[in-house]
């Protein structure tokens, strides 16, 4: 259970980190909290010739209230959300999510940026930031760009990040006071990765709704059809068949039991967001 040898660099600036990562090609890997990378290195599941430690880059720690949005630097640890130490853009949703995954010792070191960049299909922050319509700020050899959260994940552990690109932070638009959210997650044990999780954010006053399914064996699924029906006033309890049809149409090949579980978490999340 020991990692294979690797070399180590600890850049002091974003520019330096981008340069080192780009020069290292695929064999250089960024390190944030290490809560997914180090287990993978210990188990020798993730080859890395060079580990590029991002933890001393101040620009990645910045948290900023920007008026209509809040910017959370990639290195913001899960525990900062859990403890309410950062401004909230989400009417309490992000805190609710952060309290309910992994374990305190993991949440103290694990970061929102690391969790999103990893794109574990069962991870909690991904469906959350997609449901919130977040924008992901990225820096790379070609400069900076912004990727809408729902376009970031291309598949399991596969993201839109190019070689040498670093996730700088997550910008979450502030929800209006009229927006409500619902959250439903199924796990086999407290703190485990989700078997299924659904998040719904609904603002009927502004006619906006977003329902996202996580732990969906790939990128989180945005249920656009369900959102439209909810805004038209349908009751989530009456929509199970429509939800199932929308999940089948996603062509993820869910086993029958999974289809039932996913439908259930989606109905529950949607119900809590509109009731």
């Amino acid at each position: 259970m020991k990692p294979a040898p690797f070399s180590y660099v600890r850049p002091a600036s974003l520019e330096e980190a981008v340069r080192v990562l780009a020069a290292g090609g695929g064999a250089a890997r960024p390190l944030a909290g290490g809560q997914s990378l180090v287990p993978m290195l210990n188990l020798r599941l993730a080859p890395a010739e060079q580990v590029v430690d991002l933890t001393r880059i101040e620009a990645l720690r910045r948290v900023e209230d920007r008026g209509t949005s809040v910017f959370y630097g990639a290195l913001t640890p899960h525990a900062a959300f859990e403890d309410g130490k950062v401004p909230d853009a989400s009417n309490g949703l992000m805190r609710h999510v952060a309290e309910r995954f992994a374990f305190r010792a993991v949440r103290n070191r694990g970061t929102i940026g690391g969790a999103i960049a990893l794109a574990d299909p069962a991870a909690d922050w991904l469906p959350t930031v997609i449901a919130l319509g977040a924008r992901l700020h990225v820096a790379g050899p070609e400069g900076e760009r912004i990727i809408p959260a729902e376009e970031f994940v291309l598949g399991p552990y596969f993201t839109a990040l190019g070689e040498g690109e670093i996730l700088v932070g997550v910008e979450v638009p502030k929800l209006a006071a009229s927006a409500r959210w619902g959250y439903s997650k199924v796990t086999t044990k407290v703190g485990e990765y989700a078997e299924s999780m659904a998040i719904a954010v609904v603002d009927r006053a502004r006619r906006s709704a977003r329902i996202v399914l996580g732990a969906a064996d790939g990128a989180p699924i945005v249920l656009a059809d369900l959102a439209a029906r909810l805004l038209d006033g349908a009751r989530p309890e009456d929509l199970a068949a429509a939800i199932r049809a929308e999940l089948v149409a996603s062509e993820r090949d869910f086993a029958p039991a999974k289809l039932v579980m996913h439908t259930t978490t989606i109905v529950r999340a949607a119900r809590d967001a509109v009731s």
Binding site: M1, K2, P3, A4, P5, F6, S7, Y8, R10, L31, G34, Q35, V38, P39, L41, N42, L43, V51, D53, T55, A79, A102, F103, R104, A105, V106, N108, R109, K189, V190, G191
Partner: protein, 167 residues
């Protein structure tokens, strides 16, 4: 290639040259011979290796020592005589909070942090908060009882839960 690392461990400055792949658990046990920190799974799931880094619990097995260069580390050895830890140890003794003792250092450090942070603990809250620390012996009943007893003693328990104060 070795890299320099310097840490404050249990109040003492230590500097060493280590391989970058050395995790904090191995650094504490093999380089410093601080063996209260136990290594079970070595991939972050069992909690046996929990130590304090800058006052907060972390898993030593998935923390690269070099990445926390400059930090302050406390292990169970360094909490000897500390009031809250002594209360917890007495409670684990009295309420059968351990059998083989392998999980105990991690349990004690996680529980220490819990009792510092929270004032609303009941049995369910303790079970949820301690779910990242696995025990293969006790079945958890004694551990939960021990932590609740200590919580009552230091005022971290929800008022409704107090039944049997620790003597």
């Amino acid at each position: 290639m070795k890299v320099p690392v310097s840490l404050t461990v249990n109040g003492e400055r230590v500097a060493a040259e280590i391989e970058p792949r050395t995790h904090l658990g191995d650094f504490l046990r093999d380089h410093l011979r601080l063996t209260a920190t136990h290594l079970g799974c070595e991939h972050g799931v069992c909690g046996a290796c929990t130590v304090l880094v800058n006052g907060e619990p972390v898993r030593a097995c998935i923390t690269l020592a070099v990445s926390i260069d400059g930090a302050e580390v406390k292990t169970l050895e360094g909490l000897q005589g500390e009031a809250l830890m002594e209360t917890l140890k007495a409670a684990f003794h009295e309420k059968h909070g351990l059998q083989c003792g392998f999980c105990t250092p991690g349990m004690l450090i996680s529980a220490w942090d819990l009792l510092k942070r929270r004032r609303d603990l009941d049995e369910r809250a303790v079970r949820v908060a301690m779910s990242g620390n696995l025990c293969r012996c006790t079945g958890y009943q004694g551990i939960v009882r021990s932590i609740m007893a200590a919580a009552e003693k230091v005022g971290a328990a929800a008022p409704s839960t107090i039944k049997e104060p620790l003597r």
